[in-house]
């Protein structure tokens, strides 16, 4: 076996005039996890697409175990042992089929597998794969009915079932809870022992610390730094990725003034204990917790998408019980939902129409839109959020992920609100954009109450005045963001402390 599983030399790729990759040299070794870091738009995804046969490189050379490697299609790449789990989950699963068929899709497309589907044999095989992954799923469940995390795990399980020699994971944990991510990491450890070369792409510092044997930073289509050895230089990696150092965020903690939103005995789930919580004017509260802890449920209840099991809400002392998103917006409660691709972005629209969408009536007279007024508001938000674009008329699809997210956040910061709710505002966003968004949220916090739902504690520490921990629909911890005991929050998140200890 060659010392290198995969070797890239001088890979170049351009889309029209846009030179996305400008000479990438990279070596992946068997039994090693290489983490690839890079800001949005650095060229990570393009590199992955070349490796897995979606795009072809314009120049340069690739070798796989010493042999020349130039896949012309994804199936050729897979046949040679290069397996990829893409960032977008829906590329990885077929929602209308059951779990077993999804896990064994490759077997179905294989010509030697016969004409008829042997249902029982398939279910048994699928159960084996699922068990090896530690997946506890009914093989006959329809994938479309499952949650995002389960779908992601299925996509990963399928990649594993292909017995890869080189495994590429593009942000595999973006919709996994800590426990599920941990399961994935243990599995990666096992794969490593069998000599698989793994390329792991992530923004999450906690993931990177856990899995990286080596970190490669990309910037502007080039390798900006490579770090390996006993003590990995994380800071150096981030600096190389951004082109400049990163200052730590200093949060000047405020306690807020009068309460804006009060939850009185609100029960999120059938069996859960009531939640009492106050969010005050001028305060940023971060709510953190695992998947299924009730974060999404609480956001939906606040925005009128779902109704609580019991309990009441008050907004500025008035009874508040929104039935629809419209009710909530009218009451001045705005929600910037998570997963911008399916819940936020209007792909056919430009930046201006995306940004002003909820408040078009404020940019219209007698229903006729005033494009100049729309543009003016958009230009303001482009300037204050630092959205990188050529102008307010750019199509939203031409922006990088981080800048799209800025538009989504800007959409709800463009007008005054009583309560701004942001659900995972930093999802799939590089650290620079994350800081821009966070700074802007804090700068404008005086004018309203702000509630942020985040799964990452790092993100909560960066933005919040107060951190609230949810577990199974109840509040298990509340901490002012001052000399926070991170280990304690971690314990609360995973449900290891009894709720009684909360003061």
């Amino acid at each position: 076996m060659a010392a290198e599983a995969c070797q890239l030399k001088g890979i170049v790729k351009a889309f029209g005039p846009n030179r996305v990759l400008r000479g990438i040299d990279l070596v992946l070794k068997p039994g090693e996890i290489t983490v690839l870091m890079g800001a949005n738009g650095a060229g990570k995804s393009t590199l992955v697409k070349i490796l897995c046969g979606v795009h072809r490189a314009d120049g340069g050379e690739m070798r796989l175990f010493g042999e020349p490697y130039a896949p012309t299609s994804p199936s050729e790449a897979i046949a040679k042992g290069v397996v990829t789990v893409h960032q977008s989950i829906d590329d990885g699963v077929i929602p209308d089929l059951d779990v077993a068929s999804n896990l064994l899709l490759d077997r179905l497309t294989n010509r030697s597998s016969g004409f008829f589907v042997a249902a029982r044999a398939m279910r048994e095989e699928a159960a084996k794969i699922a068990a090896a992954m530690g997946l506890d799923l009914d093989p006959s469940a329809i994938v479309g009915d499952l949650g995002v995390a389960e779908r992601q795990l299925i996509a990963i399980a399928r990649a594993m079932a292909r017995e890869p020699k080189v495994l590429i994971l593009d942000e595999p944990t973006s919709s996994l809870s800590a426990a599920e991510a941990d399961r994935l990491f243990r599995l990666l450890d096992r794969l490593k022992e069998t000599g698989v070369a793994i390329l792991y792409i992530s923004h999450r510092m906690s993931d990177i610390r856990r899995v990286a044997d080596r970190i490669v930073s990309m910037r502007d289509g080039q390798i900006a730094g490579m770090f390996e050895g006993e003590a990995l230089d994380y800071e150096g990696a981030v600096t190389a990725m951004l082109g400049h150092g990163l200052t730590a965020v200093d949060v000047a903690v405020k306690t807020g003034t009068e309460p804006v939103l009060s939850l009185d005995g609100l029960r999120l789930f059938g069996g859960s204990k009531p939640v009492d919580l106050q969010i005050r004017q001028g305060e940023v509260v971060a709510v953190t917790g695992l998947l299924g802890s009730g974060k999404t449920r609480l956001a939906s209840v606040l925005f009128g998408l779902e109704q609580p099991v019991a309990g009441t809400m008050r907004l500025r002392f008035a009874h508040y019980a929104p039935q629809t998103a419209r009710d909530a917006i009218r009451a001045g409660v705005f929600l910037c939902p998570k997963d911008r691709a399916s819940n936020g972005v209007i792909r056919d629209f430009d930046i201006t129409d995306n940004l002003t969408l909820p408040f078009l009536s404020r940019h219209a007279a007698l229903s006729f839109l005033n494009p100049r007024r729309q543009r003016r508001r958009t230009e303001e938000m482009i300037a204050t959020l630092g959205i990188v674009c050529q102008g307010p008329g750019d199509g939203i699809g031409t922006l990088s992920g981080g800048n799209q997210q800025k538009v989504m956040v800007g959409r709800w910061m463009a007008e005054a609100s009583n309560l701004l709710v942001l659900d995972e505002p930093f999802q799939g966003v590089d650290i620079k954009a994350r800081r821009d968004i966070g700074r802007r949220i804090r700068e404008t916090a005086e004018t309203r109450a702000t509630l942020v739902f985040v799964a990452e504690i790092d993100e909560a520490l960066e933005i919040a005045d107060r951190i609230v921990v949810l577990n199974e629909g109840e509040i298990v911890g509340e901490h002012p963001n001052r000399d926070v005991d991170v280990a304690r929050i971690m314990a609360e998140v995973s449900g290891q402390t009894a709720p009684e200890t909360v003061t």
């Binding site: 889309f15 029209g16 005039p17 846009n18 996305v20 800001a39 949005n40 738009g41 650095a42 060229g43 995804s45 393009t46 697409k49 795009h55 910037r219 502007d220 289509g221 951004l242 082109g243 400049h244 925005f303 998408l305 998103a325 419209r326 909530a328 917006i329 929600l335 939902p337 399916s342 819940n343 936020g344 972005v345 209007i346 792909r347 056919d348 629209f349 129409d353 969408l357 909820p358 078009l360 009536s361 940019h363 219209a364 229903s367 006729f368 839109l369 630092g386 990188v388 674009c389 050529q390 750019d394 699809g397 031409t398 990088s400 800048n403 959409r411 620079k432």
Partner: protein, 348 residues
Amino acid sequence: MTEVDAGRAPLRAGKGWMYYAIRYGFLCLLIGLLIFFAIFAPGFAGPRSAVFIFQSVAITGILALGVTCTLVVGGFDLSIGSVATSALMLSAYVMVVMEQSAFVAVMACLVMGAVVGAINGFLIVKMRVPDLLATLGMMFLLIGLQRIPTEGRSISTGMTLPSGETADGVFSPAFLWIGRHRFDLVLEDLIPVPVVLFLLVGVLVWVFLELTRHGRLMYAIGSNERAAGLAGTPVARYKVLAYMISGVLASVGGILLAARLGRGDIASGNNLLLDSVAAALIGFAVLGAAKPNAFGTAIGALFVGILLQGLTMMNAPYYTQDFVKGAVLVIALMFTFALSHRRGGGGH
């Protein structure tokens, strides 16, 4: 702005020929076609011939503008053809059998169109029937329904009713005026009422979709329904509205058809659905819009009209017409989807 971000800005300063090909290709083709026919088809270039083209596409065009509204919200209305023929039969029934005035007949048709649209919307929004299936069902239902009152026969003055009586009513002159009157414009008796209505409806739908916030929200629904709903858009209400607009415009088309024919002809309007859907889809290619739009729909209807008129004047047999329409549609769709996809680029 950091170095990282500066490097990201898409480099599109120089717009390549591809940009212009996508944007103006279809309009150039249209102009080329006009020049070609003007030279090689004697009698093609002239106001009378132009008006004839407009008149031939007026009814299809109005229906196509309605279907455009449903395409905008991401839906589809297959029932428009049958709504139009139902309006044709209904107006004849109201005037000839029930002996009512033109006004009553027109109002009855418009109300019928709106109600059918509302039912379509109800099926799609509340009953969650997929749009194609709901409107297909409605199409079937209406084709059958319009035959029941007269036991499947056409309606004209003097016909024998199922009860044995004779229908004494007549198509009122005011009603026929809608279909047959011509306004003077430079030349005497030049512009027929249906053409004026077509242009009027075209402008109204264009203004509604492009310039008002309602239109913008409808496009938002068509592009990402979930996101539009989460931005506070009353999605259900706009979808029902789109189907009602489609129903009403289809009934307008039916009224014009009745007024032109002067009888409740059971066999008319068979081609209306396909022709108008084709016009709306051809409209995707106009100005590189790659999405339903009112201007494109009107141009799409005219394009087909010009091509057929020119070919007819060059003695192409009538039975080649559907082939020509189909070919235009397929080419326009290729234009739209292949080219606009390439414009999107590989991304990163």
